[in-house]
Amino acid sequence: MSSIIVEHVHKNFGTVKAVNDVSFEVRPGEIFGLLGPNGAGKTTTIRIILDIFKPDSGRVEILGGPMDEQKKNRIGYLPEERGLYQDIPLDRCLNYLATLKGLDSGMARTRIDEFLDRFDLADAKKKKVKELSKGMQQKAQLISTLVHQPELVIIDEPFSALDPVNTQMVKDLLREQRDQGKTIIMCTHQMHQVEELCDRLVLIDSGQALLYGTLDEVRRKFAKPSVLITTHDALPETIQGVGDIEKVNGNYLLHLINGAQPNDVLKSLVEKKITLEKFEIALPTLDEIFIEVVNKQGGVR
């Protein structure tokens, strides 16, 4: 059973097509990247999944059916618009939000204390939320997203306002959640985070899903006919099947001519007694794919 199924969903706001025939599926136990530039329709899609907005047409299934009040307790959501009750102490704020997710007050207190220790916020628990730094509030929000041990976690830009140490801690936490069998949807435009964490992804732009699949599938789809090699030997002027040779960060990027296969290039290099430290198909980074796809679609806004 899929954790989320989105099928041909449309949503217009006036004349603006916010979501235009988007379909994807999120499988249990994976970290799924929902990518796209600003204003692409990511947040609207999330809000439709969470039943905050109703789609104009299309079908959404979450945890095996339409959204209902019971399912809200099985979902953790960290929205793009961050917010906590500013005028009350942190522990009271977190306790209230945890009880709204179905935890009893005692259990909520125990789990919140554990998280506060882990996030290095134990000393701040009696402080008013407004007295906390932006990073501390961000961590507090993550606690409220995870404290009720949701089966499905939807997080929008989880690393914003976090320093490198806390970013690493959150990454570890997300991996830990996945290892526990939780499904995670991560909404972001930080491609290197997606490359590090996500199993599969969908890229949305102008309300349309432009890319969908595993990270590897997507990169292979955009792979140019070229190979990346690392060697300390000087390369011969001509290599069978290779057109241009480009030097990139101490490596060589060999652009293949039409019809040439990487195997032919490898064979040729070995025959010419070139010692290879690395030989790999040159896959594009997600950043490159993102820019290429979005530019093709009409430019980054």
């Binding site: 905050i52 979902i75 618009e81 961050r82 917010g83 009750y85 939000l97 009880t99």
Partner: protein, 406 residues
């Protein structure tokens, strides 16, 4: 349902445990105490307790005694000194031993004539105290009941033909009840509505709306908030009532409320049946205003507009009192927004037909339900528009309304 109570408890505690609430609660007694203090001071400044003389004709006021003081009397009476002739009194007035003197006419019993002689401004208590002194001593020999009867004067009681209503000078609280209740209603509505409005706007300002609506349904959220904020207003009101009762117990003469009042149970019932839906209706409307506004100050200004129509019946209070069955009074008591003040007031002066009472209560119930529904809709439209106002077009747009119901 559990989440409704969680929202309710959190909302109630959030307001009641705030310093702002405690200040608001204390401000009223402090304000009243201040006003009373100023009043007390201004009276005291105008009073003069220097002795006052009097010359009485033979046979009148012989062995006169000072009026016995009541245990709860705040100010003492002016001491009165008898003179046998005006010359001696005048001499004492000049040397300022006394502040004034009265010369009681020899035919006082027939004419009631008394001359008041003074040189400078006297205390404003002198005339009243002398009047009480005269009455007490003239009636001192009469049996207590007779003396009291004479002092009370006439007591006219007006009864309705069917005997259901009765009004007399002694029972003036019957008239005051709907007026006092109306004022309290206005205060409570303003406080509760203000809190609700603030709560909804804060939810938007804090950006917590999206988290909350993915945890509870909008109706649970709004319902919990409406009831909690209503109770916050009533808590404030109840504390003030306790304070008032305490003051009455402490100094009954300060406030006349404790005096004999025969308040009909049906009047109370009518007030409750009308105020409850009206309260919900107005609170829900204020909540809706909160959902459309971007910041608390802006919402507060708009909410002021709601108080205006509720107060309208007070402007026409004489018309309602003198012609309680007239068109104006009838319509004001049926229109939901003016009914809370008009209907209980009208019911004091006439027997309102049962169908009119039922119609008013029915309309108010319907309006309350409608406003809760509408505020829920507006809330759904407005809840995620951070920093943006919800336009009237959006609220009444059929498509948006349908959207919010999906």
């Amino acid at each position: 349902m559990k989440k409704f109570w969680l929202v309710f408890i959190n909302e109630y505690k959030r307001h009641v445990l705030r310093k702002r609430f405690i200040f608001a609660v204390l401000s009223m007694p402090i304000f009243v105490a201040f006003i009373c203090g100023i009043g007390f001071l201004s009276v005291w400044i105008q009073y003069n307790f220097k002795p006052v003389g009097y010359i009485a004709p033979a046979g009148l006021l012989e062995n006169a005694q000072a009026v016995p003081e009541e245990s709860d009397q705040i100010f003492h009476s002016v001491p009165f000194v008898q003179y046998t002739d005006e010359k001696a009194a005048s001499a004492d007035l000049k040397t300022q031993k006394i502040q004034a003197y009265f010369v009681i006419s020899p035919d006082y019993i027939q004419t009631g004539e008394v001359e008041y002689i003074k040189v400078t401004k006297t205390g404003s208590n002198v005339e009243d105290d002398f009047s009480a002194f005269l009455q007490y001593n003239l009636l001192r020999d009469k049996p207590k009941e007779v003396a009291q009867r004479i002092l009370d004067g006439t007591n006219l009681t007006v009864r309705s033909v069917d005997g259901s209503k009765e009004m007399s000078v002694d029972n003036w609280m019957v008239i005051m009840l709907p007026i006092i209740a109306g004022v309290l209603f206005l205060i409570a509505v303003n406080i509760s509505g203000g809190y609700l409005l603030q709560a909804v706007v804060e939810e938007k300002e804090n950006r917590t709306m999206e988290i909350v609506v993915t945890s509870v349904s909008p109706s649970q959220l709004m319902g919990g908030k409406i009831i909690a904020d209503m109770l916050v207003g009533l808590t404030e009101l109840a504390i003030w009532m306790v304070f008032t009762v305490f003051v009455i117990k402490l100094a009954p003469s300060l406030l006349p409320i404790g005096q004999s009042a025969q308040i009909n149970a049906s009047s109370i019932l009518l007030i409750v049946a009308i105020y409850l839906p009206a309260f919900i209706m107005i609170a829900a409307a204020m909540g809706a205003v909160g959902a459309t506004a971007t910041e608390a100050r802006e919402a507060q200004q708009v909410a002021g507009l709601f108080t205006l129509p509720i107060v309208i019946p007070f402007w026409f209070i004489t018309a309602i009192m003198f012609n309680p069955t007239g068109q104006l009074a009838t319509w004001l008591s049926i229109i939901p927004i003016t009914a809370p003040i008009s209907m209980p007031l009208r019911a004091v002066f006439t027997t309102v037909p049962t169908w009119q009472i039922l119609l008013t209560i029915g309309l108010l119930d319907l309006c309350a339900a409608f406003m809760v529904w509408l505020s829920g809709r507006i809330f759904r439209i407005g809840m995620l528009q951070y920093g943006k106002r919800v336009s009237l077009k959006q609220i009444f747009n059929r498509r948006t309304l349908l959207e919010s119901q999906k």
